[in-house]
């Protein structure tokens, strides 16, 4: 194989198939000309993290564009328009996140998603936006999400188990509209965010603590769940168990 600078870039960009990548790598290893070049370009890439080079669209531009959509934004159902200001605020704070949905390695994305979830949780407590549909009836909450999000989040009433169902809300996480199911434990609010999962495997719940909030995160039935609250870790774990237990015997869609 002869030296080919373009192939070095293709290797760097993950654009080569496995056999070609191996061939180029084998060549580079022994080539006094290509090896430093590849190192140099790798160094360049590391020195320019995409996240830092992104621009964030000004809020005024976002508003201008939103306004330009004929009637759609204005004549949506009222809860939706009520939500609009909220979503826009969120959109702003997640501006960077929204734009990087596919671009970032997994860990960065996780960090951002968790950050968004904490922000969404905090906002839901601050503003009068805890719920968009306020009812303790799971059969009202579940259909309310229909047509608003791409998934059908499971909604179960756990009032008898010590976690009162307050209602549902739409939020904006990582550039996507995400349903949140809202529960209360004594005076503590638990937001349960449900997102499209990356795989259909069932994953153990893991506890993470961000800015003092406990987050239990798990996957099941092709969905990813994030339960966030200021209740202690033990009670949040209990919530996850009760929630999953309530779903399992029924197994309905």
């Amino acid at each position: 194989m002869t030296c080919n600078e373009v192939l070095l870039h293709a290797l760097l960009d993950n654009e080569l198939d496995a056999s070609n990548a191996r061939e180029v790598e084998a060549h580079v290893e022994h080539c006094p000309r290509c090896a430093p070049q590849l190192r140099a370009f790798r160094g360049l890439r590391q020195a320019m993290p995409a996240a830092q080079l992104q621009f964030t669209a000004p809020a005024s531009l976002r508003r201008r564009i939103e306004k330009a959509f004929p009637a759609a934004a204005q004549r949506l159902p009222s809860r939706r328009s009520m939500l609009k200001g909220f979503v826009m605020g969120t959109a702003l704070s997640t501006a960077m996140a929204a734009s990087l949905v596919v671009a970032v390695v997994r860990t960065d994305q996780d960090q951002r998603v968790l950050g968004d979830i904490v922000s969404a949780h905090v906002r839901s407590l601050q503003a009068d936006h805890l719920t968009d549909v306020r009812t303790s009836d799971q059969h009202t909450v579940k259909p309310w999400f229909n047509g608003k999000v791409d998934i059908a989040p499971p909604v179960v009433d756990l009032t008898a188990k010590g976690f009162m169902l307050l209602g549902g809300r739409l939020d904006y996480i990582d550039g996507q509209t995400v349903p949140s199911i809202v529960y209360r434990r004594r005076t503590h609010v638990i937001n349960l965010f449900v997102a499209q999962g990356a795989s259909s495997t069932t994953g153990e719940a893991r506890l993470q603590t961000v800015q003092g909030f406990n987050i239990q995160r798990w996957t099941a039935r092709g969905l990813e769940f994030f339960a966030i609250s200021d209740v202690n870790a033990e009670e949040l774990r209990e919530f996850v168990e009760k929630f999953e237990a309530a779903l399992h015997p029924v197994r309905k869609t």
Partner: protein
């Protein structure tokens, strides 16, 4: 930043899902279309704006171009066939920017470069850059703040700037870049190689500059 392609291919296509779930909502089709478009396209506002900033190098012009891009995209949303909406938006933005370039100067700087980008007669080519063999490749790049890197990227001649922004900042594949720019993949590859050499040389040259 290495990218896991398989993971990216596996990402869901929310606008497609939206198409199905919202089709049966019973609202008027224009509204429905606008809503689907908004849900699909608005999450990419920052990406589109970023590309506009680098292409036009002016925040006011970039805002106008992005707004125009979204309006055009909404008008033509019926013709959008996927698979990915981001490159589609970029292609529209690029057309908008091209009109802007025409308006600015009456000269087609934007398209008036050699296809392979092997000449240096772009309007903004500066003697600052050296050929890659002139830049010491063993040299470790000094860390730069985002402001400086943005400027170095912005100073690249148009076809190279565009290639590197689409690849490094907007994370498009070679194929997607080729579609957006309307050139063969081979051209994308050579432009990208050249872009990185130029950028690296500019970066190294920057080290000699007083800050």
């Amino acid at each position: 930043m290495m990218l896991d392609r398989t993971q990216r291919r596996g990402t869901v296509l929310p606008w497609k899902a939206g198409h199905e779930t919202r089709a049966g909502n019973g609202s008027d089709p224009q509204q429905d279309k606008a809503r689907r478009f908004r849900d699909a396209a608005l999450p990419y506002l920052d990406d589109v704006y970023t590309l506009a900033r680098y292409l036009l190098r002016d925040s006011g012009d970039a805002e106008d171009a992005v707004q125009e891009c979204y309006l055009r995209a909404l008008r033509h949303f019926d013709t959008f066939r996927g698979p990915a909406i981001k490159p589609w938006l970029f292609a529209i933005l690029r057309n908008v920017c091209r009109s802007e370039f025409v308006r600015r100067s009456g000269v087609l700087h934007y398209v008036n470069h050699s296809v392979d980008g092997e000449t240096d007669n772009d309007e903004d080519a500066r003697p600052l850059w050296q050929e890659p063999q002139g830049s010491p490749e063993t040299e470790v790049l000094q860390e730069r703040d985002a402001e400086t890197i943005r400027r170095l990227v912005a100073e690249l001649p148009q076809p190279f700037r565009e290639a590197i922004v689409l690849r490094e900042i907007n994370d498009l594949s070679y194929r997607e870049i080729a579609d957006v720019v309307g050139v063969p993949v081979g051209t994308v590859m050579s432009r990208l190689a050249r872009a990185r050499s130029l950028l690296r040389a500019a970066w190294v040259a920057e080290e000699g500059r007083p800050t």
